[in-house]
């Protein structure tokens, strides 16, 4: 096994790699403000402390060996500076930002209307340029002073090594802010890339963000992403993440959504690419009357491995959440879904429904589904359910008996299956864009799994 040999070799070089990474970080920090230096140094220290604890023994990592990701750290970290590109995208009414290799979003503003514009910034620049005091306060409160817990090694690594952080700040005066962020991995060798995004929605603000992760050149990339979102009171946030990377690339992301009172968040995780994927999506419902959904869709074949780990933490009363993860796995693809609903003592009248539904297209495809309810309040409605099955043979015959060929019949039934997730995407142009991407992916993956 050639791959294993390489991995062992890489692991033995870990210490050396870490020293290199630390030196790189030190160079980056030279011209940084003290707030940034402190938080990065702390994050690095925490990474070194927590790394030994990130093993398959951790409850949340039962179905995906963390070594799949840890082994990739030893690849050199990408440091190429590439400039921010702002462009019009095909999505109606959206502005586009392209981040290549997770670095240097630059500090740019662009006009949505004449004078109201979302602030889009390089995080460290905020301390040097004249950032709004309110924004600096928010960042100090929510992002720089943070605690890391046991399973946070990769998240801490990201905080330490991410060269730049894309910051998007939305206030209600801006109206609905619509942005598409393209994360592109494109280098000429195997690389680790740490990408970091902060989104802040002030009270009453409205934003729709779509993030797309892509890779070029078929190298062995490791994208370690972190997205932290602060959704203010009565703010409305629609958020779609689409993974389209090459099947030579690895994707890990920690997404943290902090929601205030009366906030509404619609989140859709669409997994169509990458070889190994783990999404950790955490909803912290900090204020009462939250309303929203956390949905996911995975289409995987070949040797893809996709792990969706979600947690909805009801820390305040009367929160309403719907969670629906659907997956179609072909070939030798493996999937995992771990979904926790936590209801704390303060979370009375929580109404949470979780569902995980999977279709396996081959005997060798696999899904592990693990719902978890942890409830400390006594007046709640929480349900969960999981189903795993094959394509319905009777339905296939029905469709074929109407003249529709086998491949198209399969495609129609699969699109219908995943359509439930797509139809819940709030923004119509994102909805049709995702539908098109899913349609293409299903077409490709069906062709390859049955031919």
């Amino acid at each position: 096994m050639e791959n294993t040999a390489v991995d062992i070799n890489l692991l033995s070089n870990m210490r050396e790699t870490f020293e290199k990474l630390e030196n790189l970080m030190a160079i980056d920090l030279q011209d940084q403000p003290p707030e940034v230096i402190d938080s990065k140094k702390y994050a690095w220290k925490m990474f070194l402390e927590l790394k030994p604890e990130l093993t398959a023994k951790l409850e949340g990592w039962r179905y995906t060996d963390p070594a799949k990701f840890l082994a990739k750290i030893s690849m050199s970290s990408e440091r190429t500076k590439l400039s921010l590109a702002l462009k019009a995208v095909s999505l109606d009414g959206f502005y586009g930002i392209t981040s290549t290799n997770g670095v240097d979003f630059g500090f740019q503003e662009f006009s949505k209307s004449a004078d109201l514009k979302p602030l889009i910034a390089n995080f460290s620049d905020l301390f040097q340029k004249e950032a709004p005091v309110r924004l600096r306060e928010l960042i100090a409160k929510h992002f720089t002073a943070r605690n890391y817990s046991q399973a946070d090694a990769l998240f801490a690594l990201n905080a330490a090594l991410a060269k730049d952080t894309l910051l998007i700040y939305v206030t209600p005066e801006m109206g609905e802010v619509k942005i598409k962020i393209d994360h592109l991995l494109s280098t000429l060798s195997d690389k680790m890339v740490n990408s970091r995004v902060f989104l802040i929605l002030e009270d009453q603000a409205r934003a729709t963000i779509i993030e797309e992760y892509n890779s070029q050149n078929s190298f062995n990339y490791f994208l370690n992403g972190a997205i932290e979102v602060f959704v203010g009171q009565n703010a409305k946030f629609n958020y779609t993440r689409i993974l389209l990377g090459d099947e030579t690339a690895t994707h890990y992301a920690r997404v943290i959504i902090n929601a205030s009172q009366d906030a509404c968040v619609k989140f859709d995780q669409i997994n169509l690419g990458f070889n190994t994927v783990r999404n950790e999506i955490l909803f912290n419902l900090n204020g009462k009357n939250f309303d929203g959904h956390l949905n996911g869709l995975t289409i995987a074949d070949g040797d893809q491995h996709v792990d969706n780990f979600t947690e909805i933490d009801n820390r305040a009363p009367n929160c309403f959440s719907r969670e629906l993860f659907k997956g179609v796995y072909a070939g030798r693809a493996k999937g995992a879904f771990c979904g926790s609903i936590i209801v704390r003592r303060e979370g009375q009248k929580t109404n949470a429904v979780q569902s995980n539904q999977t279709i396996l297209l081959s005997e060798t495809a696999e899904i592990n589904s693990k719902p978890q309810l942890k409830i400390w309040a006594d007046d709640v409605k929480c349900t969960h359910g999981a189903t795993v099955g094959k394509l319905n043979e009777e339905a296939l015959f029905y469709s074929r008996s109407r003249g529709i060929d086998l491949e198209t019949s399969r495609k129609i039934l699969l699109m219908a299956f995943v359509g439930e997730v797509i139809s819940q995407i709030e923004d119509p142009s994102i909805r049709s864009y995702v539908s098109e991407l899913v349609n293409i992916t299903i077409g490709k993956k069906i062709a390859s799994s049955f031919s």
Binding site: F397, S399, R402, I412
Partner: protein, 247 residues
């Protein structure tokens, strides 16, 4: 149109059809009657191309082709249509889209241009109206939440859209009240044509009051044991299937 010769078919090692013979010429309506378990539905499914049946001997020729060699979709495109006894629900697949895909697959086979959305919608509306189907159903998922009668009428609607050469109606009357039965039968009768044949499979004679067959066959234990004109259906209704078994 269709010739079935000495057909022996088993399912999971159990013989269901035990030497069945049947010939249907263009334009004829044949009814097959028989008690539950006599093999009627097996025959219907086999003709449409369902998997899971083992043909031990015999042959089925449809328009000169060996029907058993064709995939279900090819049979459908070549004009074979099965109205299901238990139509499937396809959640998330709109009836409109499903039927348009179906019709255009069949049209492609006949070297006809595909129908555009507008043309198709006009056709669908017109045919649905004739079957007194609620237009709202056309926008819903295939059969999802349809009543039993709506499902059966939807089968006939699909038949009316696809305009098959050989239509097989598998217990289309089951679960229908008398009004629905009349609507369904009139839908079928409108489609009667010189070059179109029907195989009507039913347990009861009452459907045959509305769809008048040219021939009635009685099936018993995997074989056709008696054939006759439409009067045979009345005789069966009066005397029951036991009479055939005894005689």
């Amino acid at each position: 149109m269709l010739q079935i010769k000495n057909l022996v078919v088993s399912v999971e090692g159990k013989k269901i059809l035990k030497g069945l013979n049947l010939e249907i010429r263009a334009g004829e309506i044949h009814a097959i009657m028989g008690a539950n378990g006599s093999g009627k539905s097996t025959l219907a499914h086999l003709l449409a191309g369902k998997e899971g049946y083992e043909v031990e001997s015999g042959e089925i020729t449809y328009q000169g082709m060996n029907l058993l060699e064709l995939d279900p979709e090819i049979r459908a495109r070549a004009g074979v249509f099965l109205a299901f006894q238990y139509p499937l629900e396809l959640p998330g697949v709109s009836l409109n889209y499903f039927l348009r895909t179906s019709l255009n697959s069949v049209r492609a086979h006949r070297n006809l241009e595909p129908l555009g959305v507008r043309e198709f919608n006009d056709l669908l509306k017109e045919r649905a109206k004739a079957l007194e189907l609620d237009p709202d159903l056309l926008q819903r998922s295939v059969n999802e939440g349809f009543s039993g009668g709506e499902k059966k009428r939807n089968e006939i609607l699909q038949m009316a859209i696809l305009e098959p050469q050989l239509a097989i109606l598998d217990e289309t009357d089951s679960g229908l009240d008398i009004d629905a039965l009349r609507v369904v039968a009139s839908g079928v009768n409108k489609l009667r044509a010189k070059d179109r044949s029907f195989l009507v499979i039913t347990h009861y004679q009452r459907l045959l009051n509305y769809i008048i067959p040219d021939y009635v066959h009685v099936m018993l234990d995997g074989k056709i044991v008696r054939s006759g004109g439409k009067e045979l259906a009345f005789e069966l209704e009066q005397k029951g299937y036991g009479w055939i078994a005894e005689s």
